[in-house]
């Protein structure tokens, strides 16, 4: 089975502190990590390969520093990595990003399955996965919490999607795209051998030309949406601490809550 995992490098929020005065994030010295949801996609790809054999490839679209994210994926057991990097990609919205990723998947050739995290922790859109599937003309299953069985005779896979009120079982034909939620597995730690291999491995870089795209297909000019303004939301004011013994405090809280309960 030939699997491609799409990942994104995002700011690590665990190291971010909130400025108590403005209630905004203090971003100085923030380091980057692999988007948390993508870690589950990486793990699932490695598990599927262990079970069914085949090849796993990780791709990311991002600046030179995203090389770290690709090497981390390699250390976790992914076979190969490709870095999609070009200044012409900067400022891409979800439409242009999914196009670039789809073109890379086409170029890799003979891919059976693409795995993505359900969304990135910085943008939170959950649009890129389905976008890639649509550019490729493939079926998709989003929010997958379990990949049940791969049926090579019928060229299909059965999986479970986590929905608001329960879950749904879907059967998809290959090639297909699956986005995963945290429940799907528990990612392993990188092995020492994996780390050594990741350090040395050659990672090809593909730019806009290698993907057969023109400058205007990606980046700001290839993006239908435009960000016109970025601002901090009004800070959440600190409320009241209700003092008193538990019964007194509960009485006060109850009368406050009553105002909001209709």
């Amino acid at each position: 089975m030939n699997i491609v995992v799409c990942i994104k490098q995002v700011p690590e929020t665990t190291e971010v502190k909130i400025n108590p005065e403005t209630n905004t994030l203090i971003r100085e010295g923030v380091s980057s990590i692999i988007n948390p949801f993508d870690m589950y996609a990486i793990e699932e790809a490695v598990r599927l390969k262990e079970k069914y054999s085949g090849k796993t490839t990780v791709i990311t679209m991002g600046p030179p520093q995203a090389d770290d994210a690709l090497r981390e994926a390699l250390s976790l057991g992914i076979d190969e990595a490709i870095h999609l990097t070009d200044r012409a990609f900067a400022g891409s919205d979800t439409w242009a990003t999914s196009l670039v990723l789809a073109k890379a998947i086409e170029k890799i050739k003979d891919v059976d399955m693409v795995l993505c995290g359900k969304q990135a922790s910085d943008g939170d859109t959950a649009q890129v996965g389905p976008g890639i599937a649509t550019h490729l003309g493939w079926p998709q299953a989003t929010y997958v919490r379990k990949i049940d069985e791969v049926d090579f005779d019928n060229n299909s896979v059965v999986c479970e999607r986590l929905l608001e009120e329960g879950y749904e079982v879907l059967k998809l034909s290959f090639p297909c795209l699956i986005t995963v939620v945290k429940e799907i597995n528990e990612p392993r730690m990188p092995s020492l051998r994996g780390k050594m291999r990741a350090k040395k491995q050659n990672i090809p870089a593909w730019g806009i030309k290698e993907l057969g795209l023109k400058d205007e297909d990606a980046g700001l000019s290839g993006s239908p949406t435009q960000v016109v303004k970025i601002f901090s939301p009004p800070p959440r004011r600190m409320g009241m601490i209700i003092e008193g013994t538990p019964p007194e405090a509960v009485d006060k809280l109850f009368s406050e809550l009553k105002k909001h309960l209709t």
Binding site: R27, Y143, E165, G166, L220, G239, L253
Partner: protein, 398 residues
């Protein structure tokens, strides 16, 4: 090498550092009191330009392909069904669509797909739709993103709507990304604000990013329709007006809209307790402070007394006290109920980004320094094992 479209005008820069604080990517530094942008880190988001008091940062926005955006009219709402009823988020969107259509002097159109659903069209009109485009097909009885996208793409090509809105639900998000890519138009996720720039006749879409720590305003100037998703509870549903009249247009689409590469096998409803966090007005969440799994019953009792959904912190889910579907926070669900009650949750940033848009936040925790108190409207510093039973008793005797 080609330059990226951002530049610091050195003559105007005074080295105040406002841009450094504003940059979400740590791409700006000061060198000899002049801002320098690391192009490898910059994503051209424009936060620095916005923050600069001296107009010293310019971003060259290349002119994208201009398509003809005239001839597109009306505001569409994708009507989502949850099992056999219409999802509340769809009614909320009809309410918002009325305001937008008023500003644009156009109509609100509900797009309603399914099997045996004609009976529900009247309710859509009562709650804001001027027209309902109805597509009834047995194969559309259950939501499959590919089939719904194929159908709606055909409808958009035929009717040319100016705006298309959908709920930011698992269904809405999976669907509209496919539509936007196929149609080649812009889509903005999770909007908390939608307004019309009346002069330019553009939809101004406001959305949070970085877990709500930054707000962005986004437009789709050169493509149509302008598409956006909106979360539950953000917009207001209109009271039903039984005097409203509207038109139902039944569409019979010829040709292939069903994708046979996806097969729906079954749906399993989680019955144990109310889990639809997105839809809940009130959420009661429990965390590590509960100490052990059996104490989660306290959270369930309080939730039952308030008719609330049950949420949990990552710590409680990772400890195996409650299924993942209840997890609120960065690696779980993002929620914005009217009232969020956090019990024994310290309030790590990953939890806060998933719930800080809630209208009223109540925190019960024995640690007075817990970060959750910094964003809570009401906080009780105390033992939740004493406080919660008292609150349950009080609510029951109401």
């Amino acid at each position: 090498m080609k330059e990226k479209g951002i530049k610091v005008i050195k003559e105007k820069c005074v080295g105040c550092g406002a841009c450094i604080k504003a940059c979400p990517f740590g791409a700006v530094t000061l060198e000899s009191k002049i801002a320098v942008i690391d192009l490898d880190k910059c994503t051209l988001c424009g936060a620095c330009k916005e923050a600069c008091p001296f107009g010293a940062i310019v971003i060259y926005k290349p002119q994208g392909v201009k398509t003809d955006v005239s001839g597109y009219k009306n505001v569409w709402v994708f009507i989502e069904r949850e099992e056999q009823k219409i999802a509340s988020v769809s009614f909320e969107l009809l309410g918002k669509a009325r305001v937008l259509a008023g500003d644009l002097k156009s109509k609100v159109v509900a797009v309603f797909l399914g099997s045996d659903i004609k009976k529900d069209t009247q309710e859509l009109i009562y709650k804001g739709a001027d027209e309902v485009i109805l597509v009834e097909k047995k194969e559309l009885g259950h939501f499959i993103a590919e089939n719904y996208a194929n159908t709606i793409v055909r409808l958009i090509q035929k009717y040319k709507p100016e705006i298309v809105l959908a709920g930011a639900t698992t269904t809405g998000r999976s669907l509209v990304s496919r539509i936007a890519v196929k149609i080649r138009t812009g889509l903005t996720a999770d909007c908390t604000g939608l307004d019309i720039d009346k002069e330019k006749k553009l939809l101004i879409q406001t959305r949070p990013a970085f877990g709500g720590n930054i707000m962005a305003q986004i437009i789709t100037p050169n493509y149509r329709p302008q598409m956006a998703t909106v979360r539950h509870k953000v917009m207001k549903e209109l009271p039903p007006d039984k005097n409203r009249e509207g038109k139902v247009i039944e569409e019979v689409l010829d040709g292939k809209i069903i994708d046979d590469r996806i097969e729906f096998v079954k749906f399993i409803k989680e019955e144990s307790y109310k889990v639809n966090l997105a839809d809940a007005d009130i959420i009661v969440s429990g965390g590590r402070g509960l100490g052990e799994p059996k104490n989660f019953s306290l959270i369930r009792e309080l939730a039952a007394a308030l008719d609330a959904a049950v949420g949990a912190s990552r710590a409680a889910v990772d400890a195996g006290w409650i299924p993942y579907s209840h997890q609120v926070g960065q690696t779980g669900r993002t929620v914005a109920p009217k009232i969020y009650i956090a019990c024994g949750i310290s309030g790590q940033i990953q939890h806060l980004v998933g719930m800080q848009s809630s209208k009223i936040i109540v925190a019960i925790n024995k640690d007075p320094d817990a970060p959750i108190f910094k964003i809570a409207n009401y906080g009780i510093v105390g033992d939740l094992f004493k406080v919660i039973p008292l609150l349950v008793e009080k609510l029951k005797s109401k």
